[in-house]
Amino acid sequence: MKVLSLNFLTCAVKACKSSSDSYPLHPQDAELVQDEIELNPDMLINVLPRLDWTALRTTSSELGFPALPEQAPTAEELQADEKMIRDLHHLLLETQISEGKLVCANCGHQYAVKEGIANFLLPSHLV
């Protein structure tokens, strides 16, 4: 699963959805693999308005990537910043989580990731 997925995923427990602590999920013991993908600056610029930047900053630092700026760049700023484009491309699109866990900070539930597939099925007492 690409790191970008974490920007769309949240705890599957219904009661957690209203808590801001349930997003983003926190990767633990994550094993990362890198793919090589052709750089498409235009695509990244158009992904930008879809991103929850605060969540992405958290994910990025928790995975050990260099700190992202506090504020999301504007489309124009990103367009002019080739290094930032490359860094975001590498983090969001080329990096995959292959093994590990995703943890909800609200309920503490741990979602296992195996072969790049996170398991969001809940044990019956949590449904």
């Binding site: 699963m1 995923l9 599957a12 699109l93 072969e115 597939i117 996170a118 969001f120 099925l121």
Partner: protein, 265 residues
């Protein structure tokens, strides 16, 4: 005709094999009227009057099975949406289906690149597949296009999990395990609607304001009642049949309903 993704690697003893319902989804999504709708709603260059380009759409299939539909959407993004800038992801309860889908998408993307020659990449960006119950793992209001080929066959009861079953990609599965996994793909309980009803109830939370859902129904699901129920969500909600396999006279007559909010001024 756009090529159908190759699913020859999928273990059909425990993952639903593409069938008439899957192909009806492919035909409907690539029909002239639906590609026009998707272009108008999501293509960045469609409305030149709009000052800012439209945000890149997030397309999710629930219950991917083999991945044939999600791979088709991802690989042919340029044709279906008028842009290769779409994000796609899959959800399925069955770990083997998730694993199969990753492979199906990968193959279909490679095939679409080969077909395009040196031209611009025709395929979108697949984020991955997760195991989950419907849209439970997804952030509210994030999905722009939802595709669902549900377990729609009326059955006296819903599948129950064998006691021996472990969900995480076991290296060996028993016959009971395989039967359970397959039953998840078709057994719909009362009117074949127990799972679909749960999904429809959650649509207002799942879909983005511009979002739409393509849901497959069979005649036993009482599609006219389903559409009428969606209209009770509010005056802006629409539910229209946009594809059907009317020519086949079996008991399983199928249709695809597109559900969305009409927020045009």
């Amino acid at each position: 005709m756009l090529p159908t993704p190759d699913t020859s690697h999928v273990p059909y003893e425990r993952v639903y094999e593409p069938a008439e319902d899957s192909f009806l989804l492919l035909d409907t999504l690539s029909s002239a009227s639906e590609t026009q709708y998707l272009h108008e709603t999501f293509s960045p260059d469609a409305s030149s009057s709009s000052p800012s380009p439209k945000a890149i759409p997030f397309v999710v299939e629930l219950g991917t099975g083999s991945g044939v539909v999600l791979a088709f959407i991802t690989a042919h993004a340029k044709t279906l949406f008028g842009t290769n800038q779409i994000l796609t992801a899959g959800v399925d309860m069955n770990a083997f289906a998730c694993r199969a889908t990753i492979k199906t998408v990968e193959k279909a993307q490679a095939d679409s690149v080969a077909e395009a020659g040196g031209n611009e990449k025709p395929h979108g960006l697949y984020l991955g597949s997760v195991m989950g119950d419907l849209a439970a793992p997804l952030r509210n209001h994030s999905v722009d296009v939802l595709v669902f080929n549900p377990p729609y066959v009326p059955t006296s009861e819903m599948p129950s999990r064998p006691e021996t079953f472990t969900e995480d990609l076991p290296s060996k599965t028993s016959f009971d395990d395989d039967s359970y996994l397959l039953s998840l793909s078709y057994a719909g309980g009362r009117d074949g609607m127990e799972t679909t009803d749960r999904l429809i109830d959650a649509l207002p939370e799942i879909l983005s304001p511009r979002g739409c859902a393509y849901i497959l129904l069979c005649a036993q699901n009482k599609p006219e009642q389903v559409k009428a129920r969606i209209q009770t969500f509010g005056s802006e909600w629409r539910a229209v049949t946009v594809g059907s396999s009317g020519k086949t006279a079996g008991w399983e007559k199928l249709q695809i309903v597109r559900i969305w909010r009409d927020i045009s001024p």
